[in-house]
């Protein structure tokens, strides 16, 4: 199945892209996606346990994914 990964700000810089489609086996979790993405970029700039949102809701690393999910890696926010 395919999930869409969104990267923002410093994480997008670390990987050099802001959106990636990733093929994963069913049963894959947020943690699997993080490990996959860290291999694509400068892992020193992508923490092992970043804040993640799935379909625009903050989610834990154990969250099991479904086909078509939108997984966003959220750098420390700094709005305001």
């Amino acid at each position: 199945m395919t999930v869409t990964v969104l990267l923002f700000a410093s994480y997008a810089d670390a990987v050099g892209r802001s959106q990636i489609e990733i093929d994963v086996e069913s049963g894959a979790t947020v943690k699997d996606i993080i490990e996959h993405v860290r291999k694509l970029g400068d892992a020193t700039r992508l923490p092992a346990a970043p804040v993640v949102a799935v379909n625009e809701q903050y989610a834990s690393r154990d969250r099991e994914l479904r086909a078509g999910d939108e997984v966003a890696l959220i750098p420390p926010v700094s709005g305001g």
């Binding site: 969104l6 923002f8 700000a9 410093s10 810089d13 346990a49 804040v51 993640v52 949102a53 625009e56 809701q57 903050y58 989610a59 834990s60 966003a72 959220i74 750098p75 420390p76 926010v77 700094s78 709005g79 305001g80």
Partner: protein, 153 residues
């Protein structure tokens, strides 16, 4: 209640108008503006980006929470994205209430929660031509992830 992510200058008087009613005896307006010095470095401007759809959603949730806290629907917030110069307004919060105490409390709630939970990022541009993503200094965003959106206060 009103919340919006915008890419144009913020008009604070229009935010005030959104919450002003005859029943209210107090209007609190908070404006966040671009500061010329941060951590000792001279700043020429700030660029704001966002996970826009989620930011709009979380901002709306925060406004609903603030309205419940103040027992007033007269809560409004706008956050601007894009390139801002020193002195420009990046965020405006207005809360109106029959009495000032609740208005202050709810306005403070909106800006503090916004800074912790809304997926917006700023990159400062410095006099020497460099630019850097700003790392927040207060609470670690990881503190609230396990509680999910709306938790972690």
């Amino acid at each position: 209640m009103y919340s919006a992510i915008v890419e144009r200058p913020i008009d604070s008087s229009s935010i005030i108008e959104r919450v002003s009613r005859g029943a209210n005896g107090a209007v609190v307006l908070f404006l966040g503006t671009v500061r010329e010095v941060n951590d000792g470095r001279d700043v020429t401007g700030i660029e704001y980006t966002a996970y826009r759809s989620m930011a709009a959603r979380v901002l709306s949730t925060i406004v609903e929470e603030a309205a419940a806290l103040a027992d007033s629907n007269d809560v409004a917030v706008e956050h601007r994205l894009g390139e801002l110069e020193v002195g420009e307004c990046s965020v405006a919060v207005a809360v109106a209430h029959p009495h000032r105490s609740r208005a202050f409390e709810a306005a403070r709630y909106v800006i503090e929660e916004l800074k912790q939970r809304v997926p917006i990022w700023k990159r400062e541009h410095y006099v020497d031509g460099t630019r850097e993503w700003v790392r927040p200094t207060s609470r670690d965003a990881n503190d609230f992830v396990d509680a999910g959106e709306g938790g972690g206060r």
